[in-house]
Subunit: 273 residues, 2 copies
């Protein structure tokens, strides 16, 4: 079967034509979270709709995805509109819907990157050799973590008591890559930018109702630079700054093994604790 | 004149009714940047269109603004649509246009905040007493910096030679408040989240062509907590992680004088250097 040769990530993010600016997709059991597909795959689906649009110019620069409602199992439609095309940047509006329901809204910017002054002021984080770190076994019933290979250098998900009174560090640092090897691209990075457990689980030591509300991803590396990473691991960092009245922020970084910063991202999430 | 009693920020962000979900505004000379209005005021205008919408539920949680084109002097229209209203969150789509031109696109999330576990893992930054710090005199012809009082604790904007070869620290830490006192609210915070000079100017010691492309702001404090700050100064931090092929990121934090984190934000900007 031809489909066996398609990587699960490409199956989960595949889109068929369904009219002028509209594409059709189908949810995948392989990247399932609590109440719907893993947010990273949803983010990648929307980015794919931009990258495969006939009018697209440039490479991904910024992507913001708003999670309006859980995506139900089955078919969905993605409408992808280029609202403005400039000399260097192109601005996109994207809506994923099921029936009359708006499920995801997003904006994206693609950009032509020109040579310019380059500088990376942020120091690369300490990256212990992945072979010294244990392969993480996900304790959740969600299928999406099984699609990745995680090796935590710090802040692995673990259960403990009394976390509300004495919260643990909410920071994680880990190597990640696709469980089935796949060359790195911007779609993979869009998904990896959300491939973290809720910071609140890490802080209080238990899993509580949780959902990403809005997710913003910046692509700081161009396609050529990303492609050079091939199937190498990405070093990922995630932390939260404040949990307050049912919402918290999360800041992430995705680093190439060579110490170049590929992606920065933020999200705001709902939690009940 | 009644208008003399209105704060310049409220004048610059005022919107009149212009049909069902559409409001009309007019650019202000008082918050002008290089090629158009200061991005912070544009962000506040879009947030105001949400907060003043008759169907609005909850308080600001997340706001992403995409700068598609420079806003020209004169009239503009803002169309503000509630795309989805849930039990706790409401999702908004906003477009600012002039004639046939899409100038700004945005998404916002408002939320009902419920009591829950609260925790601020990030330590408050060192905040030297503002009276020990010099009042910053903006060297630019832009009018917007004059609407704020800046007192830099670190990383004040300054000109120097050879910055491309030996870049300075791109981080700034400063006290800011409205030059004309105004009680803090979410609109003021939306604007302050962009009230920084381009990180590239700080890094290379000169002003170059620059523009924000996409700006995301998370409001981590509710309206009551924000209101308690009154006309107090806000302690602001901004830094960049990577400048690469004409684009760079910026991460910001806005802190209350009492050491609570009010806002986190990111932006991706274009520069030519």
């Amino acid at each position: 079967m031809m489909t066996d040769l398609i990587h699960p990530f490409d199956r989960a993010t595949a889109l068929d034509d369904a009219g002028h600016d509209t594409r059709r997709g189908h949810t995948s059991e392989e990247y399932w979270a609590f109440l719907g597909p893993f947010g990273g795959v949803s983010s990648a689906i929307l980015l794919r709709s931009v990258l495969e649009h006939r009018a697209r110019v440039g490479e991904p620069l910024a992507l913001t995805v708003n999670f309006c409602a859980p995506l139900a199992r089955g078919e969905y439609f993605v409408t992808t509109l280029p609202l403005r095309t400039n000399r260097s940047t192109q601005h996109w509006s994207i809506v994923l819907s099921q029936g009359d329901e708006t499920v995801l809204t997003a904006t994206a910017v693609t950009a032509e990157r020109r040579e310019s002054w380059s500088h990376q002021p942020v120091p690369a984080p300490h990256r212990p050799p992945p072979e010294d770190l244990e392969l993480f076994q996900s304790p959740t019933v969600s299928t999406w973590p099984r699609q990745y290979e995680f090796r935590f250098a710090a802040g692995a998900l673990r259960a403990f008591e009394g976390g509300e009174q004495n919260p643990a560090d909410s920071k994680s640092a880990l190597w990640m890559r696709d469980a089935t090897p796949r060359p790195l691209d911007h779609l993979a990075l869009a998904s990896m930018a959300d491939a973290f457990f809720g910071r609140v689980f890490h802080a209080i030591g238990r899993v509580v109702p949780f959902g990403t509300v809005s997710l913003t991803t910046y692509f700081l590396a161009d396609a050529q630079e990303v492609a050079r990473h091939g199937e190498d691991r990405v070093f990922a960092i995630a932390d939260a700054k404040r949990f307050n009245r049912s919402y918290n922020d999360q800041t992430i970084e995705l680093w190439g093994a060579d110490g170049t910063l590929l992606v920065t991202g933020v999200q705001v999430a709902y939690f009940k604790a």
